[in-house]
């Protein structure tokens, strides 16, 4: 343990004495101060703080990632290239201790830099928070009296300096609807007729069809097919809001007004179904199942664009339920609402602890990159190692884009190239983590709660959405199980150690 600490300490000193770190620190300071004082966002205070948080945290992350890659790579490879390792390896230091010590040193230094950077970002954001909004400025100068609520201030306090958990609506009970529908169909037409129709429709050959009809197994098969087609239909229907109709979304597990007074936010995205309309007329109504109801609020919405509005906490019932109606007021266009397109956000914690967790999200990336740099650094030269790690970093960063770009087309048979690129990218991301999956800066900008389970996902393994009774409903969403970056870090370190252990440190001399 002592000698790991010795290497860690030594790494710390070594990194701190390189020029590159000074340059990066300077850059970091310029970025943070520049974004804090120069960027104005969309002109609102909320926009300014969001811009600041977004740019400062992502630039911090980017710079720290780069410096991690270059430092780790350079110290490890220079140890070998300049043969410093001869002296070190002839001391009672196991190879794994060296690997771990080096990694710990870099991560420690980066952690320290991260704390300093995030600390300054935090202080600056608090400074910005104290700036007046436009309405406050006007009120101060006595020009106008604020009559309306100061949406800017509300936004700053309720959408940024908070930690809000996301609640999805209760999924509809597909199986129940299915059973009802099947029952209805059987009553109307009789099971035999249903099966007969289905087989006749799918099998053109009459003799074959007869044969199938006579066999109980094939009959059951046909019935299953009817059922699953119906299920698909119902799932599809559950997301569609036809003109003049409404969809009811129930959210549960919220905190009642008595427990939390802060405003809730509903965030949604509406998709015109098989239509190119860009604006959609609709209305929203928020209902407390036990109490007050607001009149429907009609709005014209921008299609396929996330929109939101605030909800007063009194609409949450004592059992933590909230019902939301969406009315489609379009004369013709059907609106499609995907399962994750409507969410309710409610405050569950403070900004500070969330900010700290965002720091952990950034840290795990640095840890991973340091580990990968160690892994390659123990057997490759500096240029190759840094290039390789940079590639991994870049690919990880644009993972969302790569996934989108190589998605298999929904219609038609994909070409060989499409298959190739699709599976190639899938293969790559078995090893390379998707950095873009959880972006600390995006979460901070939205004041979204970084749940322990998010951290677990990033550090250990992905837990999929817990299956509900109508599990099939969720299966339409991409189901993915992935190891987190923490596990990959450990793996990279372990592989690095294995390679390093077998590595002969002295070549021909």
């Amino acid at each position: 343990m002592r000698n790991i600490w010795a290497v860690t300490r030594q790494t710390f000193i070594q990194c701190a004495r390189t020029r590159i770190i000074v340059v990066f620190c300077l850059l970091l300071a310029i970025c943070i101060l520049g974004t804090g004082f120069k960027m104005t966002g969309d002109g609102t205070l909320k926009g300014r703080i969001q811009t600041f948080l977004s740019y400062s945290t992502s630039l911090t992350q980017l710079l720290l990632c780069l410096v991690t890659i270059f430092l780790t790579t350079s110290i490890i490879t220079s140890d070998i290239r300049h043969k410093y390792i001869f002296t070190v390896a002839s001391k009672p230091l196991a190879r794994w201790q060296y690997v771990l010590g080096r990694w710990c040193g870099v991560v420690g230094l980066m952690g320290l830099l991260l704390i300093i950077a995030l600390g300054s970002i935090y202080l600056l954001s608090q400074h910005l928070r104290k700036q007046p909004t436009r309405i406050e400025r006007e009120a101060e100068s006595g020009l106008t009296q604020p009559k309306k609520p100061d949406l800017d201030r509300l936004g700053v306090e309720n959408e940024i300096f908070t930690a809000r958990d996301t609640h999805l609506p209760e999924p509809p009970d597909i199986e129940k609807v299915l059973r009802k529908k099947i029952k209805q169909l059987i009553e109307e037409r009789g099971k035999d007729n249903l099966i007969r129709d289905h087989i006749n429709k799918t099998v053109p050959d009459k003799a074959q069809a007869e044969k199938m009809l006579s066999h109980p197994d094939t009959r059951q098969q046909a019935f299953d097919q009817i059922e699953s087609a119906l299920r698909e239909q119902i799932i599809e229907d559950a997301h569609l809001v036809r003109p003049g109709k409404a969809i009811v979304l129930t959210f549960t597990g919220l905190k009642p007004a008595s427990a939390d007074e802060s405003l809730l936010q509903i965030r949604y995205k509406l998709n015109p179904f098989k239509s190119g309309k860009t604006t959609l007329a609709g209305a929203w109504q928020v209902v407390n199942p036990d109490g007050p109801t607001d009149p429907p609020m009609s709005r014209s919405e921008s299609a396929k664009t996330t929109s939101s509005f605030m909800i007063a906490p009194r609409f949450v019932s004592e059992e933590g339920r909230l019902t939301v109606f969406y009315f489609n007021l379009q004369p013709e266009t059907i609106v499609k609402i995907q399962p994750r397109d409507v969410v309710v956000l409610q405050r569950v914690g403070g900004f500070e602890s969330n900010f700290a967790r965002a720091g952990l999200l950034i840290l795990i990336r640095l840890m991973f990159l340091a580990a990968v740099s160690v892994l390659f650094g123990v057997f490759l030269s500096f240029p190759i190692t840094s290039l390789a790690v940079m590639m991994i970093f870049t690919v990880g960063t644009i993972s969302a884009f790569l996934h989108d770009a190589t998605r298999l087309p929904r219609q038609g048979e994909p070409s060989a190239f499409e298959y190739f690129s699709h599976y190639l990218v899938k293969g790559i991301f078995i090893a390379v983590p998707t950095f873009s999956r959880t972006s600390a800066s995006d979460l901070l900008v939205d004041g979204e709660y970084i749940a322990p389970k998010t951290l677990i996902r990033e550090y250990l393994v992905t837990f999929q959405q817990p299956g509900t009774d109508s599990g099939r409903f969720w299966k339409t969403i991409n189901l993915e199980i992935q190891t987190g970056m923490g596990l990959r870090t450990l793996l990279a370190l372990a592989v690095g150690w294995l390679i390093f252990r077998r590595r002969e440190l002295a070549g021909i001399s």
């Binding site: 030594q10 043969k83 390792i85």
Partner: protein
């Protein structure tokens, strides 16, 4: 631990073979072949050979920096990569592979930490070692700014930080001026006197000759010859008489007496100084006038480098140190000048400058052995056919085989 310090083998290699492969895993160079070595506790063992003969490779296998292709190597009865083994080894590489951005103090502190030494002990040892190698005044200078000699000294200090039982020195005197080399050799002797086992590799035969108890001569990866210096160099068939200068009459008389005893006189001549001895003598005289030094060792041997219970130990060293200045011979102790480590020597005569230059160049063409005597009895272990002429050839071999 002390159990191993008796006559047990500290390092043992059995049929040790190292073959380097190229990128395509084709066998390229057989650097070491079927090497059997037994290095006993407390001895100073010299690995001799021209550049590229496999000395370094052997040492690196002993250190666990290289893995044997075939054969086995044990150090203190265990694998060289065993951490507990390494705790007892000190290693001075052929060049100073030390972090240039650390100062001497930090360097020693780092390596001390790697041995898990407690803080207080580390501080004590660092102070003593720096004092010993005369770098106390430069303790806070970055090693990158050190001269080559200073780097060797701090290298030596780091090799001694753990008070090793086995000290491995790869080309310890390479790049040193003769004075420094002399002091280095004295240090080696002193350490040996304190019961350390030392392995040193060198292609400078004079170095080896002065300090080694036993040497092995490697060529092309094979051990060609091995034995104690006594065995290897002693010409039992000859007798040398050294007297005051004889006039011709006396010479003839001596010749006659010998002839009567039926002994043939091979040569009668004035003995010549060894160049090294001459150099040392001149420098020492200069030092007395200028009191400057750039030496390996200026201070007292670090006290923690513990004495061997078997050997005369500290008393011997003190005795050695106390010896008055005598005309230099090959085995003479240098005078320890008053420490003033940061000032580099300023030889004032052109002769010295010339000599210095010669000493620098003397690295590759090894000093020629004495004039062709009849072949001595050599204890031949690995290759019976090796004879003196082979050795001559080996020794003449310059850097041409250096890879």
């Amino acid at each position: 631990m002390p159990a191993n310090r008796n006559n047990d083998d500290v390092v043992r290699t059995v049929a040790l073979t190292k073959i380097f492969r190229d990128f395509w895993l084709r066998e390229k160079v057989a650097a070491v072949q079927s090497l059997d070595l037994n290095i006993r506790s407390g001895e100073v063992y010299g690995l001799l050979g021209p550049n590229g003969s496999g000395k370094s490779t052997t040492l690196k296998m002993i250190l666990g920096l290289l893995y044997p292709t075939r054969g086995r190597v044990t150090v203190f009865g265990a694998s060289p990569s065993d951490v507990r083994t390494k705790a007892r080894i000190g290693f001075l590489p052929e060049e100073s592979y030390l972090y240039p951005f650390l100062n001497a103090n930090e360097t020693l502190d780092y390596y001390g930490r790697l041995f898990g030494q407690p803080r207080r002990e580390r501080k004590r040892r660092i102070g003593m070692l720096l004092d010993m190698v005369g770098l106390t005044g430069s303790a806070y200078r970055r090693i990158g700014e050190y001269s080559k000699g200073m780097q060797r000294r701090i290298g030596m200090a780091q090799a001694l930080i753990n008070d090793p039982d086995l000290l491995i020195l790869d080309e310890p005197t390479s790049g040193m001026d003769p004075l420094a080399a002399r002091q280095f050799k004295d240090l080696i002797k002193e350490l040996s006197g304190r019961g350390k086992t030392l392995i040193l590799s060198s292609h400078l035969l004079a170095d080896t000759e002065d300090v080694c108890d036993r040497v092995g001569i490697l060529f092309a990866g094979e051990l060609r010859s091995e034995g104690t210096l006594e065995d290897l160099l002693n010409r039992a068939s000859l007798t040398q008489i050294v007297t005051e200068r004889l006039d011709d009459t006396t010479r003839d008389a001596v010749r006659r007496v010998l002839n009567q005893a039926d002994k043939q006189v091979i040569s009668i001549e004035s003995p010549k100084d060894k160049l090294e001895a001459l150099f040392l003598r001149i420098v020492r005289q200069a030092q007395v006038r200028h009191q400057t030094v750039d030496s390996v060792r200026t201070g007292e041997l670090a006290e923690f480098l513990r004495a061997s219970p078997q050997k005369t130990g500290r008393m011997v060293i003190e005795e050695l140190l106390a010896k008055p200045e005598t005309p230099a011979t090959a085995t003479e102790k240098p005078v320890v000048p008053p420490p003033s480590p940061t000032i580099r020597p300023k030889p004032d005569s052109g002769v010295i400058a010339e000599l210095m230059g010669e000493a620098e160049e003397a690295k590759s063409p090894a000093p020629q052995p004495e004039e062709t005597p009849p072949p001595p009895k050599i204890e031949q272990r690995t290759d019976k056919s090796v004879n003196r002429s082979v050795i001559d050839e080996l020794i003449r071999g310059d850097g041409s085989e250096d890879r």
